[in-house]
């Protein structure tokens, strides 16, 4: 379904570092586009510097970092530091499969990435619609007045 909850919102999407998982970011890209957002799809194997450069040059409202291969902890600190250094402050989400081992409790994983500077940290199997709704809410909270009220949608 095509809506306009994210009309005009610019979102950078990609898999970070050495990650080659493409299916999740493909679906996220579709969901965001269907919600009216402009998606800058970086694809797989996107380095932290490439994320930062895209966030700056594309003047992104949000950056969606995906990592499925267990190496999020290795590459994400560099991304967060890079954004700070560039004085860019997009809404920053991370998701996919964030720890190397299934035995790491989720609350530890979440806390680690929140402390790193991510606005939201998503567990595996998050539905794309969840992220769309959260982004709309976070943008409204930041005072992005241009966004339509929740529930309103075009055909």
């Amino acid at each position: 379904m095509v809506t306009s909850v994210l009309r005009g919102v610019r979102v950078v999407v990609g898999s970070i570092g050495d990650d080659i998982h493409v299916v999740g970011i493909t679906l996220l890209g579709h969901a965001l586009r269907n919600a009216g957002a402009e998606v800058i799809q970086m694809g797989i194997q996107t380095s932290p510097e490439e994320f930062v450069a895209a966030a700056v040059t594309e003047d992104a409202d949000a950056v969606f970092v995906s990592s499925s291969n267990g190496h999020a902890g290795i590459f994400c600190p560099e991304l967060v530091a890079g954004l700070r250094q560039a004085q860019a402050d997009p809404i920053l989400y991370v998701g996919g499969n964030l720890s190397v081992s299934a035995a790491t409790p989720w609350h530890e994983v979440r806390q680690r990435f929140e402390e790193m500077g991510f606005d939201r940290v998503y567990p595996p199997r998050t539905l794309p619609d969840q992220a769309v709704q959260d982004l709309a809410a976070d943008l409204r909270a930041r005072g992005n007045a241009g966004l339509p009220e929740p529930g309103s949608q075009d055909a």
Partner: protein, 491 residues
């Protein structure tokens, strides 16, 4: 190096020169001494060689079960390999971490230093950081053949280190590593890297150390795909391997939950690989078909995961594939525990033992139908690709990819057209929704359309769309997952 890569065998002197400059550039040292490596590898391969194990299984009509597994710490890797061996893995894996695969050897060494036996910071075993001596000790400490598993467009140092350490199996090839596994790499750039590795394997073979190479082709993407298309990648990878002297090849077939189509796929990929190897003059190459458990999104519920494994094992047992690569009941969750891995291996061996003896009675007319369709489609694409290279599979695949005559769905690679879309029919077999520019014969297109009619009829509009393709991504996950927050089964 020739401007335009071809399938000609790399000249030995040129190969030696490439080795010297590669080691200097990527490791800052002289190449490994091959004569010394063969001294170690020859008796090692006689004691625990993968080729011999597969040959034995193939002639006995049995299936060797192989898992995938790797952790950073040496002690933990040894324990893992021993557990897998005890559970009945016929060949034991060392899966290499993805920092090492991206040639970040020093970063991998740092992450290794932060890893403990209980906590791995890496998603695999940092082979180059551990080095040849330590890995020889590791391989010598297990009683089964060892396959080193990795994937990337430049694995030359990884391969050198693996073979010098006693690995008798290795994975992948340019089709898979480039088009399913890399964003920017081109075939023209990655094929020579892989030819280097295959040439090295050829040298080991010529000196009494046979090494097996898995030809994955397009048979291990993260989504479903039409079997014929998967075979095309496998056959092209196999032809490029054989061109450099590889003598033992494992053609892959990913199992997708439709038993008749999966059985046909396993049979077809073996037939096609042997047929095209012979056609191009590589009739002395031995092949051992591997069925490989479903490789896309896995059910998170453990009982469901057993169910999917069972459907896969059925197909593998009916097709009597000499190899089965197992996933685990925790695939949908995260890197599996050793116990989950062991249970999945045991389950696979048990069911395959039971079903394989009934194989002949389970080859249904549906299998025959799928087999015929598979062969017709794959031959049409392969012949067109080879034609575009005047019979040379390397030149042919480079040109065919640019023209879309070679094309795959959901590729992360920028050089792939990506116009092909797979969709499941009403029974779950995978068909072409859009064939892009693939040169499929009219008869095949008609059969594909017939088989899609029932699914079309079921959709409200009578048409199938991209949304159906997306829905199919979770076809093998039955009902929404009901997991604790974070999908963590161990909390």
């Amino acid at each position: 190096m020739p401007d335009q890569p071809s399938n000609d065998m790399l000249d030995l002197e040129e190969f030696q020169a490439q080795r010297a400059s590669l080691f200097r550039r990527q490791l800052g040292r002289e190449p490994y001494d091959l004569a010394e490596a063969w001294e170690f590898a020859r008796p090692n391969a006689e004691r625990r060689g993968m080729a011999a194990t597969l040959a034995r299984a193939k002639s006995a009509g049995e299936t060797v079960v192989i898992p995938r597994a790797g952790v950073a710490h040496w002690d933990a890797q040894l324990e893992l390999m021993r557990t897998l061996s005890a559970a009945g893995a016929g060949v034991v894996p060392i899966t290499v971490d993805s920092l090492t695969r991206s040639l970040r050897f020093e970063d991998a060494a740092k992450a290794l230093a932060q890893s403990t036996p209980d906590r791995s910071v890496l998603n695999g075993y940092p082979l180059v950081a551990h080095g040849v001596e330590r890995t020889r000790e590791l391989i010598s400490a297990v009683d089964r053949p060892v396959i080193v598993r990795a994937n990337a467009i430049d694995l030359r140092i990884v391969a050198e280190t693996a073979f010098a350490s006693g690995a008798t199996g290795f994975v992948s090839g340019p089709m898979y590593a480039t088009l399913e596994y890399s964003k920017l790499g081109s075939l023209a750039e990655s094929i020579p890297n892989w030819q280097f590795i295959f040439r090295l394997m050829g040298e080991y073979a010529a000196h009494g150390v046979p090494i097996v190479e898995d030809a994955i082709g397009f048979a291990q993407s993260g989504t479903c795909s039409v079997p014929a298309l998967m075979h095309v990648g496998v056959v092209l990878d196999a032809l490029i391997m054989a061109g450099q002297g590889v003598k033992h090849i494992v053609p892959y077939q990913m199992l997708q939950g439709h038993v008749a189509q999966d059985v046909a796929g396993c049979i077809a990929v073996g037939t096609l690989t042997d047929e095209y190897l012979a056609k191009l003059g590589f009739g002395d190459v031995r092949t051992y078909v591997a069925s490989s458990d479903w490789n896309g999104a896995f059910p998170a519920r453990e009982p469901d995961a057993y169910g999917l494994l069972a459907a896969n094992v059925f197909a593998c047992a009916i097709a009597r594939t000499p190899v089965n690569y197992v996933k685990t009941i925790e695939e949908g969750i995260g890197v599996p525990t050793a116990a989950a891995n062991a249970a999945s291996i045991r389950f696979t061996r048990y069911l395959s033992h039971l079903i394989s003896r009934q194989a002949a009675s389970l080859i249904s007319p549906e299998v025959e139908f799928e087999l015929e369709l598979n062969l017709m489609e794959a031959r049409a694409i392969l012949d067109a690709v080879l034609d575009m290279g005047d019979g040379d599979p390397v030149r042919g695949s480079i040109s065919a990819l640019a023209a879309g005559v070679l094309d795959i769905p959901f590729s992360p690679n920028v050089h792939v057209r990506g116009n092909v879309l797979p969709v499941r029919d009403a029974d779950g077999a995978v068909r072409f929704l859009d064939r892009g520019a693939l040169p499929l014969p009219a008869a095949a297109l008609r059969l594909e359309a017939e088989r899609l009619a029932s699914r079309r009829a079921r959709s409200g509009s009578g048409e199938l769309s991209y949304q159906d393709v997306i829905d199919d991504l979770s076809f093998l996950e039955f009902e929404e997952p009901t997991l604790p927050e974070g999908g963590d089964p161990h909390s």
